[in-house]
């Protein structure tokens, strides 16, 4: 008896997974179709445009690796948003946590001389810690003051943004005659040139390895530990969790802290592995907001976020190639927007499929 119940549960889980995957593919298809309509309206050939986009990404080992380089930071912010969502919190603040992570990594790399290798590791950890602190602030305010995390994280995003600009422009960090910081010190860089002959100028960096590790970390914490169970329980029903003896305030703060840490790590690996400095920004770069998209396309699931991050990274990189045929690269944002919109309304498609299947088989609804 027990076995059959378990078996049917597993079968059901499998069908949900398959369904989710199929419906995500369908959404992507709808997004690409909408993109081609817009291309046609504005006088471009969709086949040529998509050929340029996908050819530009999948063409050579180098371009494929560039897509991975684009994907690495948004896998981290995607995980950050996913982790928060899974515990009932909406972290719009991945942007600010990402900025603080990158900034902390820069500061450690410039001010704390350490031997190569160790230096990078310490700087990455500092980035994770800074992101965690920035996230935990929002968590604490939510838990103990009842202030909605959405407002707090929006404010913290801007505070982080201007704080980063401020630090970067102080005499200690500013590179003379530029609007950027000095370079990250050589000992703290975390990329390797070992594969230059295969991937050219692409920076193969630790973040690309760390991203799947972070995915596994999230998945295990959420699904296989009592900690994860507690965090999710609080997200699901705060009062019931409290009644069950869970410290709600600590759980919310911890959730936001872990979520912030993930985004902070993303900022750190991007600064140390790819960019090598921080520029004074005029507008938010949007890594945190990309993380929200990645989380949605990944079905709010850590493993999904990995693939969604690769997909989105590829689209972003491929979008930059659209300039070759004169089409605006913002097409990609429109396509991603339509994809997420389609994912949002997939529930209706599901209901429709369910309805027709039931009708065909003569089952009652």
């Amino acid at each position: 008896m027990r076995q059959t119940a378990e078996g049917s549960l597993r079968a059901r889980l499998r069908s949900v997974w398959n369904d989710t995957f199929l419906y995500t593919l369908l959404s992507i298809l709808i997004g690409l179709l909408a993109g081609s309509v817009i291309l046609l309206v504005t006088g471009f050939n969709p086949i040529e445009a998509y050929g340029t986009l996908f050819g530009g990404v999948l063409g050579t080992g180098k371009t494929r690796m560039y897509a991975v380089q684009y994907a690495a930071p948004i896998i981290f912010t995607g995980l950050s948003v996913t982790f928060a969502f899974k515990t009932g919190l909406f972290n719009i603040g991945a942007e600010g946590q990402y900025i603080m992570g990158g900034l902390a990594a820069l500061v450690v790399s410039v001010l704390m001389p350490l031997p190569a290798g160790l230096h990078g590791a310490v700087a990455v950890l500092a980035g994770g810690l800074a992101g965690a602190v920035w996230g935990a602030v929002a968590g604490l305010l939510k838990a103990y003051k009842g202030i909605h995390e959405v407002i707090v994280t929006i404010m913290l995003n801007w505070i982080a943004f201007y704080f980063s600009n401020f630090i970067v422009m102080t005499p200690m960090f500013k590179k003379p005659n530029s609007t950027a910081s000095v370079e990250v010190s050589e000992t703290a860089r975390i990329y390797t040139d070992a594969f230059k002959e295969h991937f050219g100028s692409v920076h193969i960096h630790w973040g690309m390895l760390l991203a799947p590790v972070a995915v596994a970390f999230c998945w295990v914490i959420l699904n296989k530990t009592t900690l994860g169970f507690r965090l999710r329980a609080v997200g699901f029903n705060r009062n019931a969790a409290e009644y069950g003896g869970i410290n709600v305030g600590r759980s919310i703060s911890l959730s936001m802290g872990i979520s912030g840490m993930l985004a902070g790590l993303g900022g750190a690996v991007q600064v140390l592995g790819v960019v090598g400095r921080i520029t004074q920004l005029a507008a938010q770069e949007g890594y945190g907001f990309d993380g929200i998209s990645v989380s949605m396309i990944g079905g709010i699931n850590p493993i999904g976020a990995l693939f969604a991050g690769l997909f989105y990274g590829g689209m972003k990189y491929g979008g930059s190639k659209l300039n070759i045929i004169g089409a605006p690269s913002e097409l990609v944002n429109v396509i991603i927007g339509v994809i997420i919109y389609s994912i949002a309304i997939m529930g209706a498609f599901r209901a429709l499929v369910f309805f027709f299947r039931a009708k065909k088989e003569g089952r009652p609804l």
């Binding site: 201007y162 429109v334 919109y341 529930g347």
Partner: protein
């Protein structure tokens, strides 16, 4: 150098000017939230509102045509959100996220397509901007002149807030809107058309958000550029939560924000010889908002906000 009377007048005037788009978009957010539909797509709708207004104004030469087009585009995106959230019973946050990607993406895409690959529209002519009112009433360059000579949008937005308050709290429709947002099933049993009310509110919310964006290229800056909104939609949403979903309080929250912003900018003016970094000054509005939130504490959203309503009862 000290603050003179004219500086204070300018400070008040620029407070009002900065608060205007926030107030208009904030009223949009209130309409949607009160009816029980979360609308974080305000940001994206402000961007496309600013673009469509700037593009239509510079191509036609009239700000009114610009505003009209912005209203249409805002209604269209409002409808898109309503369709997802109400008819298709989609997750309201996810639909809002989609619109925040879709609308700015479309704005910049069509900007490049219409204006030779540039991410900026052509500037709106000086004569094509919104009129300045109460200009000749007070002696030129006096305190009162500096304070009250403003774009017409400043006064219209205050009037708008009053109308929204009246609509929500003094009319039968408003009572229905609030009922639908608090307990849709109870409202439905009394014969209130939940879907119809929500469609009306969400579409109106889109229109107001787009108008909030549209007044920017017609007043402070004269053209559209990608960073023209840069978070003002989210600030408007924050002001609404901050203002506890009441129009009057929301206006005050927007004014506080506008005040901090213009204070930061005027303190940055070299004539005051403050040696504080402009970046630190720019943080002021956000830090103060957080501090004020610490003191006012909790804000309760309408009970049904964000929940999917299904008339079939499951």
């Amino acid at each position: 150098m000290m603050f003179g009377a004219s500086d204070i007048g300018l400070l008040i005037s620029s407070t009002l000017t900065y608060a205007t788009p926030l107030i208009i978009a904030g009223m949009g957010s209130i309409m949607s939230e009160t009816s029980g539909v979360v609308n974080i797509g305000i940001e994206g709708k402000m961007v496309i509102g600013a673009f469509s207004c700037a593009a239509a104004s510079t191509l036609s030469g009239s700000p009114w045509i610009g505003l009209f087009i912005a209203i249409l585009v805002g209604a269209l995106f409002g409808l898109l959100h309503a369709l997802a959230c109400i008819t298709f019973k989609a997750d309201q946050t996810i639909s809002g996220i989609a619109i925040n990607l879709l609308a700015p993406g479309a704005a910049i895409y069509f900007c490049k397509a219409l204006f030779d690959g540039s991410t900026q529209t052509r500037p709106v002519e000086l004569t094509g901007k919104l009129p300045l009112v109460l200009g000749g009433v007070f002696p030129e360059n006096s305190f009162l002149d500096f304070t009250f000579k403003n774009y017409v949008s400043v006064y219209v937005c205050l009037l708008l807030a009053l109308c929204i308050w009246f609509l929500l709290f003094r009319t039968r429709t408003g009572l229905r809107v609030r009922a639908v947002g608090e307990h849709p099933r109870a409202a439905a049993t009394l014969g209130v058309g939940v879907f119809r009310i929500r469609y009306f509110c969400v579409v109106l919310s889109g229109v107001l958000a787009a108008l909030g964006g549209a007044v920017i290229p017609l007043s402070t800056v004269s053209y559209f550029f990608p960073a023209i909104i840069s978070g003002q939609g989210f600030i408007a949403i924050a002001a609404v939560i901050f203002g506890k979903y009441k129009p009057g309080n929301t206006v005050l929250a927007c004014l506080l924000f506008g005040f901090c912003k213009s204070l930061a900018l005027s303190l940055g003016n070299p004539k005051f010889e403050l040696s504080v970094s402009v970046h630190l000054l720019s943080m002021i509005p956000y830090v103060i908002t957080l501090l004020v939130l610490l003191f006012i504490g909790k804000s309760h959203a309408p009970a049904a906000s964000g929940k999917i309503y299904d008339s079939a009862g499951h």
